[in-house]
Symmetry: C2
Subunit: 184 residues, 2 copies
Amino acid sequence: MRADARRNLDTLLQTAMAVFASAGVDAPVREIAEKAGVGIGTVYRHFPQRSDLVAAVFRREIDACADAAAVLSAKHAPFEALAAWMQRYTAFVAAKRGLAKALHSGDPAFDTLPGYFDQRLRPALRKLLEAATAAGTVRPDVDADELLGAVASLCMSAHNVGSGRAERMVALLVDGLRHGAKSP
Amino acid sequence: MRADARRNLDTLLQTAMAVFASAGVDAPVREIAEKAGVGIGTVYRHFPQRSDLVAAVFRREIDACADAAAVLSAKHAPFEALAAWMQRYTAFVAAKRGLAKALHSGDPAFDTLPGYFDQRLRPALRKLLEAATAAGTVRPDVDADELLGAVASLCMSAHNVGSGRAERMVALLVDGLRHGAKSP
DNA sequence: CTTTATACGGAACAATGTTCCGTTTATCAA
DNA sequence: TTGATAAACGGAACATTGTTCCGTATAAAG
């Protein structure tokens, strides 16, 4: 792959992420291309359809969230790493409320996203959970899937718009994980 | 209101309902205008925005569903009327799965729809319920709101696509209403 | 029948997704 | 270093669709 192509792809994804975050996923392709300093043709060579760009940005954010698990795990004690990652995941889900619409739009470009979501995030959380359980700071009867789903529900609910409510609920959830741990 | 205007408005709403049903609520305005045999300008005079047309069609379908209650009530015994209307409502909700997206689009044209929905359908169902309860064929501890919500949930669930599953579940629900009635 | 306010139709405009192709440039062999 | 070339670039042009505007047609009233 040519160096300029790689460069453009990177700035494109970065810019698209920023634009989607501030103007929503319906932002015009022209605007993204302009802000990234590339032509429209460049965008469409990398992403044949607009939805492909959206999906790529999404996948990238899933990756970032999943990768954060290992970093946090190396930097903190098991329980603290778990708690920190849960907040990281909360931020991710909360910021992506617009995704639900896109996912249900029927566009084939989004078909593989739910699977990718599971494939990357579930193992990430499972490792954190297992480490904390092994350390005795978290109860052993909690399922990674259920936890991911619960947080998503908390964040998606219409009553949780704004003002850290979702974060507080998730913090409560995480505190609940301590109950029944081997060593308190 | 001029006669031709009234005529055009009616055919427009009828046509739009048919097109939305077959091609989805994203069908182009031009297509609707053409099928209705009117110019685009005519559509936009009656409905300043595309979403206003969608909302009008919706309101009309809510009306039809609500009005069906009185008709069924006059034609059948209380319980049979209730059961028939529940199926009518089921068909209405099932057909309008695309509505959820529209409702959450943030377009102000849809702001009053949820309220209208309640205002028309809740009393309709309440009257049917009260009549059946008074006749002793339905238990008295059922709330119209809850019933409407339950049916909506049954229909909206992604697992209920196709093949009368929702209808069967609703029928079950209705049969459940008989339990604990004064006279079995 | 004439008048007039109303409604009509569709051309024209604007925004946006997508395609196409002439031009530029990174890469590499000589 | 330089020339060849395949890859990538940029943006004009096209297609679709929502929306506006205005000249024309017509229903309604006297």
